[in-house]
Symmetry: C2
């Protein structure tokens, strides 16, 4: 990363603020220019030194930027990109942090077709159920994995994520979306369906009988609906395939409940436990 | 609770050791007599002062006990009970800590029919994924809810759970099993099916893309298979009904994936989040 570059960060919530703070903490000496829709966020961003400058107009924010990182929900990324394209510096590279890539890249292609700037899809696999600029954490991306989609400008974008401590992997948008449908989006949908299912009936009576198992298994269902609406909306086919696969696992269990014996139940449970342990053991990025 | 009573605790794992330590911490001055199958556990139980006496034969352990608490997996409770019935003191009361009650009570009725001792079903809603005597925690039952099934001897058993800080609710075995099928057993099965589903395919490739969402949503799937086999085996009909209800929630989502718009997705997610928040808000026992 050229430390004299200027970087514009559009959206100063958890992801954007963490990127700005992470760059500052690691000695980035170029200008960090922010854009935030809400005035309150702009004031906070300057007062707390999250950014060097902040604008209420995204086009103003990107005018002198070499790198632009859009840190908002997926469909808002597309809207912001349409606004800023005419203002982008020739040769500048724009990226995002969205959790799905295929639909977004399809929307981006015509926007950048006649531009001298480039768009590169990114997805840092890092986050928190906390939201907003106050949740900004300079180490959010440290030791995490970031997917970058191959295209012109990808090396410049990879350097930004590496600069905040992330390991970068290149992956096509389609492969990314199919992978994350299983490893991230499926757990989210399952947690939501479980919360709905347990609260169904008489929640006031049921509440006291919920233990830490319910609490942890449904935790992600409390995450930002603004963010998740767009993720699900833009990954429908892959999600349906993953729900089918999950449904087959449940059907296997129902078959055992109907006609299996204790050994069948034990085998199902032990395989589930082994599956989880295998994933956690092979994963290089989750703190254990 | 009469502090001069003798209590026998059969099984000195997490639940049994925590009960013994909890009673001692709160000034119980009767004798605490343990039974453990493994010699290593018996040695540890004495060395660490978990119990006052320990036996390798459950009948020896219960001979002078006024209260007997059986802290092992459900089908093992039934086996131990069959062994100890002839040795029980007239008027003594036996209970357990199993997570299902109907099947167990059906098994217990003939055993205690001609005995001068009584059996009362208990289920303290407390636990941990940790196991064994080392995991014993004097405060495991503090501030938690314990279900006691109404029958002769229930007041004596309720006093034991209250003595270690638990709030007691009386509930029929059938109502208990239907309730816990939703609030506890369903989350366990869903977590297991999710772990199996995500590890399906190429786990070595998928592992790095699993984040904290996967980790938390599947946490309980790493719990003791020994304990869970019997829970599932003894609550099949209620579990199938809960899996049906859960399946309907997933079907609602699949319908939205196929033909719904962003507003439909948002509504589904917001209802899921509200469902979880409602349960956590109404629950009086989960530490928030």
């Amino acid at each position: 990363m050229d430390k004299q570059q200027n970087i514009a960060i559009l959206g100063l919530g958890l992801m954007g603020a963490s990127l700005a703070l992470g760059l500052k903490k690691r000695g980035f000496s170029g200008r960090i220019i922010g854009y935030a829709r809400r005035e309150e966020t702009r004031v906070q961003a300057l007062e707390n030194g999250v950014v060097d400058e902040v604008f209420a107009d995204p086009s103003e924010a990107v005018r002198e930027a070499d790198i632009v990182v859009i840190c908002v929900p997926i469909w808002t990324i597309a809207k912001l990109a349409a606004q800023i394209v005419p203002a982008l510096k020739p040769g500048s590279v724009v990226t995002d942090v969205g959790s799905t890539k295929s639909e977004l890249l399809k929307t981006m292609q015509p926007l950048f077709k006649h531009s001298a700037a480039h768009f590169v899809g990114s997805h840092p696999i890092a986050g928190s159920e906390k939201t907003g600029i106050e949740a900004g954490d300079p180490d959010l991306y440290q030791g995490r994995l970031t997917v970058v989609c191959p295209s012109e400008g990808a090396p410049e974008i990879s350097k930004i994520w590496q600069a905040v401590g992330s390991e970068v992997i290149e992956m096509s948008p389609e492969a990314h979306d199919a992978m994350l449908a299983s490893t991230s989006h499926l757990p989210h949908m399952v947690a939501g369906a479980l919360a709905r299912s347990v609260a169904d009936g008489d929640p006031a009576k049921k509440a006291d009988f919920c233990g830490t198992g319910f609490k942890d298994t449904t935790r992600v269902a409390s995450g930002s609906a603004d963010m998740w609406v767009d993720i699900i909306d833009t990954n429908r086919a892959a999600l349906e395939a993953e729900l089918d696969r999950f449904h087959e696992e449940l059907q296997g269990l129902i078959k055992i409940l109907r006609g299996g014996n204790g050994d069948d139940i034990r085998r199902w449970l032990e395989e589930a436990s082994a599956a989880r342990n295998q994933i956690l053991k092979l994963n290089r990025f989750l703190k254990r």
